[in-house]
């Protein structure tokens, strides 16, 4: 399907007076669509072509320029709609949900921790050995998760965990003003080998939006 002639949606946020950046994907001007107390950003996409990594990074730059100042709800890249009217319809039909999420998450950001084993016994000699190693890894990861929660006590307003092949992804909802403190506390931790913690953020609190 050819998306040319469509509009690319970036994000929704509560109306603010600041400017919303310059150009988006394809160098197209960023446009804003106001609906009640919400604003959606979008740009035209007039030229048919495949999207690439640079487009994704340009998209990220646009939403980051807003997120650096306030809470946003990003659209997943790439979200194309027929025209501005279709975007307005989306805002109107989902206003209550967007409004509630942005109000609830106004002062919050999401930090992410990937807690995983650097290496495993890739060649277990038996199924039993494999399961024992897996169980040991799970226990070790859970210990680190508990240590993270203790280390960041008082900073995490909400959290979610998602299992991965080698460990857990932990999503922590924290106040924007606590970002540096949260990072410092996590970076002062020690993850016992072979575990590792990858700390990322702040990000828009997308894992804490209402379903």
């Amino acid at each position: 399907m050819n998306p040319a002639g469509k509009v690319l949606a970036y994000c929704v946020f509560e109306r603010a007076d600041h400017k919303t950046g310059s150009n988006g994907v394809d160098g197209q001007p960023i446009r804003r669509l106001d609906f009640q107390d919400l604003v959606a950003l979008y740009s035209d996409f007039p030229n048919p072509r495949n999207l690439d990594q640079e487009d994704a990074l340009r998209f990220h730059a646009v939403i980051k320029s807003v997120f650096d100042r306030q809470a946003i709800i990003p659209f997943r890249f790439p979200t194309f709609l027929d025209d501005e009217a279709a975007l307005l319809k989306e805002l109107r039909e989902n206003y209550a949900r967007y409004h509630a999420d942005l109000s609830r998450l106004r002062d919050f950001v999401q930090m992410e921790l990937r807690i995983s084993a650097e290496q495993q016994n890739e060649n277990p000699t038996s199924g039993k050995q494999y399961l024992e190693a897996k169980l040991q890894q799970t226990h070790s990861v859970q210990q680190v998760v508990r240590a993270v929660r203790e280390s960041a006590a008082g900073l995490i307003s909400d959290s979610k965990e998602r299992l991965t092949d080698r460990g857990i992804r932990l999503y922590a909802l924290i106040r924007r003003e606590d970002t540096a403190l949260f990072r410092a506390r996590i970076q002062s931790m020690h993850a016992p080998a072979p575990l590792r913690i990858l700390l990322s953020g702040p990000w828009p609190a997308t894992d804490f939006l209402h379903e």
Binding site: M1, N50, A56, I73, R76, D82, A191, I197, G201
Partner: protein
């Protein structure tokens, strides 16, 4: 002092880990609008065709980077 096993990803896209982290988020996080256009060719989303060369998990990328660094160190011995 930061533990060597705790790695903070920059988030500015200036290194490979940070770049992959950003791509992971823009492609996998955020609101999906029902009825929005899916760009696809033969059932495969084009955007993923375009990005799958670089898109791998951050953990995998880190292992690759470290393996490269280790090889470089060994060559320098």
């Amino acid at each position: 002092m930061a533990s060597p096993n705790v790695i903070a990803i920059g988030g500015d896209g200036s290194d490979e880990l940070s770049l992959l982290d950003i791509l992971d988020h823009v492609l996998n996080s955020g609101v999906v609008i029902q009825g929005s256009i899916v760009i696809s060719l033969g059932g495969v989303d084009l955007v993923y065709v375009g990005l799958n060369v670089v898109l791998t998990s951050v953990e995998t990328a880190l292992r690759t980077i470290e393996a490269d660094q280790q090889r470089s160190l060994e060559r320098g011995k």
